[in-house]
């Protein structure tokens, strides 16, 4: 196997994807949305809210960041990876190069992951920093909170991205299906008894937060796995979904316009 050639191709496709996701209007919209937690913490600080500490930070970040911003940003970007190339008729340029379809999917997914983390990670770090600074604490005082949210952001981006990418190669209108899964299923699944919550990404993200952060508002949250197991499950599911997406893409035909 020509590793140098493969690396070059991976670099080019990843770079092309990064540029595509970070330089179009979509990047402005998702970037602004990703800033919401930061804007909120800055507002709380400016309003001199007395109870503003890392507990309040977590109370805001779990429903707002994990269950809205993260899902929306990953949905918009992951569904664009293949589907927009099909809709824009630019896919033939990539498909007529000596690069396999599964490799193309994998490289695009890597580009996606870098792009969404560039958008999502800095606001989380700065919002955490603002919270600590407001309480007159050093940046390193509650590092478990920061690590917990960074882990949830990275693993959530990977898992949601893989899920939405898979949906995008299965259906023509992936946004609608993604919205349904991201904002309906992921929201209600916690209230379903039994092991059903294990069929959601948010369950494992909350498990990680509960296990990693010493003082957290998830004390009553039902979970029987550790953060390590939850992280392992999310990584495994992400890899499996990317492989499935690659397999489906490998069998796909691209008609665009029948002439």
């Amino acid at each position: 196997m020509d590793w140098t050639g493969s690396f070059r191709k991976a670099w080019v496709v990843t770079g092309l994807t990064l540029r595509y996701l970070l330089t179009t209007r979509r990047a402005i919209a998702t970037g602004l949305l990703a800033l919401v937690p930061l804007i909120l913490t800055l507002s709380l600080a400016a309003a001199r809210v007395v109870t503003f500490d890392t507990i309040l930070f977590q109370n805001l970040m779990i429903p707002l960041f994990l269950q809205v911003v993260l899902i929306f940003v990953t949905l918009v970007n992951a569904t664009a990876l293949i589907r927009e190339e099909i809709d824009d008729n630019t896919l033939p340029f990539l498909l007529t190069r000596p690069i396999s379809k599964p490799a193309l999917v994998a490289y695009k997914y890597i580009g996606y992951l870098v792009a969404v983390l560039v958008v999502l990670i800095p606001p989380v770090i700065v919002a955490y920093g603002v919270t600590e600074a407001y309480g007159g604490l050093a940046f390193t005082t509650d590092l478990d909170v920061l690590w917990g949210f960074l882990a949830a952001t990275i693993l959530g981006s990977a898992a949601y991205g893989a899920l939405f990418l898979f949906i995008s190669v299965l259906v023509r209108r992936p946004l609608a299906a993604g919205l349904l899964i991201g904002f309906v299923w992921e929201s209600v699944v916690d209230s379903i008894p039994g092991d059903v919550p294990k069929l959601s990404v948010i369950h494992y993200l909350k498990t990680i937060l509960k296990d990693v952060i010493a003082i957290n508002p998830l004390g009553q949250y039902r979970t029987d796995v550790s953060a390590g197991v939850a992280a392992g499950i999310l990584v495994a599911v992400s890899i499996a979904l990317v492989i499935l997406a690659a397999f489906v893409f490998q069998q796909m035909e691209f008609r665009q316009k029948a002439g």
Partner: protein
């Protein structure tokens, strides 16, 4: 089976619609023109050849190999799609360079080869401009540049002259001709027979997904000359252009379907295409694009297939 392209009883359905209907043909070396009206099956055939579709029935080979999911074969082909969308945020240079690097080419080589390819198609001056600002003719040339930059054995060009202005047409046809002279094979589709005549005598007529005739262009042209050929010209001054074109004896009629469009019907398309650039140059009128609506060709096909 030793042609550049071999198709034996190839059929392709889009649901209930038949894209190709037991298509059988063998395309030899050099330039082959695939001529047929829109919807005849040209793009479907090309998509089968580049491995974007797979056939529902029959067998198709390109350079002796099955194209479906055949990654090594892609090194040997250059494809120019019909659609004009490019990665608009990339410059012409970046566009060609990026695609070359997907062939595994090192960055420096890709840069040099991209520069050379853009020069061949006459786009050097616009190489550093984002492609979103390119005219249709420039887009056609950029697509051609990326198709030939990696020195493929065969070029598959889907309507490469569609919408191109007269200058771009000359450049594109010259590039295709030079590529074939250097030993390359070209498969080029069009719904305008007269475009292909300038670069090859070897054509295949396709209609309703079937190859209905193949061989020398002149015999087929004789049939077609009896049908007026329509040319749609995009210009800011259609009436002034009509006045200038009226001196051509073979022009049958003019229509003005839009404020910036002139539709000309001529009985001698070859003479028309030959004389047009000079008239445009003499009158200094702005011609942004040329297109041939395929109604005239469609009439010929109806005549040929009875």
């Amino acid at each position: 089976m030793n042609g550049v392209v071999e198709a034996a009883g190839v059929s392709k359905w889009y649901g209930e619609v038949l894209g190709l209907n037991a298509f059988t043909a063998s395309f030899g070396k050099g330039i082959t023109g695939l001529v047929g009206p829109n919807g005849a099956g040209k793009s479907t055939l090309f998509k089968l050849l580049i491995g974007q579709l797979h056939s529902d029935q029959g067998k198709i080979t390109l350079l002796g190999e099955n194209p479906w999911n055949n990654v090594p074969l892609k090194r040997r082909l250059g494809y120019c799609p019909e659609q004009n969308q490019l990665y608009g945020w990339l410059t012409g240079q970046q566009f060609v360079e990026t695609l070359l690097r997907l062939d595994g080419m090192p960055a420096t080589n890709a840069r040099n080869e991209a520069t050379a390819a853009l020069k061949v198609v006459g786009l050097s001056d616009a190489a550093q401009r984002p492609t979103r600002g390119y005219s249709r003719g420039m887009r056609q040339r950029a697509k051609l540049a990326q198709a030939l930059a990696h020195d493929p054995e065969i070029l598959i060009l889907d309507e490469p002259l569609s919408g191109a202005d007269p200058a771009a047409r000359v450049h594109i046809l010259q590039t295709i001709s030079d590529f074939a002279k250097d030993g390359g094979h070209v498969l080029m589709s069009t719904h305008v027979l007269y475009e292909i005549e300038r670069v090859t005598n070897n054509i295949v007529l396709i209609h309703n997904g079937k190859a209905i005739a193949a061989g020398n262009i002149h015999a087929i042209r004789a049939l077609i000359d009896t049908h007026p050929h329509a040319v749609r010209i995009e210009t800011s001054k259609p009436r002034q252009l009509a006045q200038a074109l009226a001196r051509m004896e073979h022009v049958v009629s003019f229509e003005f379907p839009a404020a910036d469009t002139l539709l000309v019907r001529t009985r001698k398309p070859d003479a028309f295409y030959k004389e047009l650039p000079q008239i445009v140059s003499d009158t200094r009128l702005d011609v942004r694009g040329l297109e041939s609506p395929d109604d005239s060709l469609d009439a010929v096909f109806r005549y040929l297939v009875g």
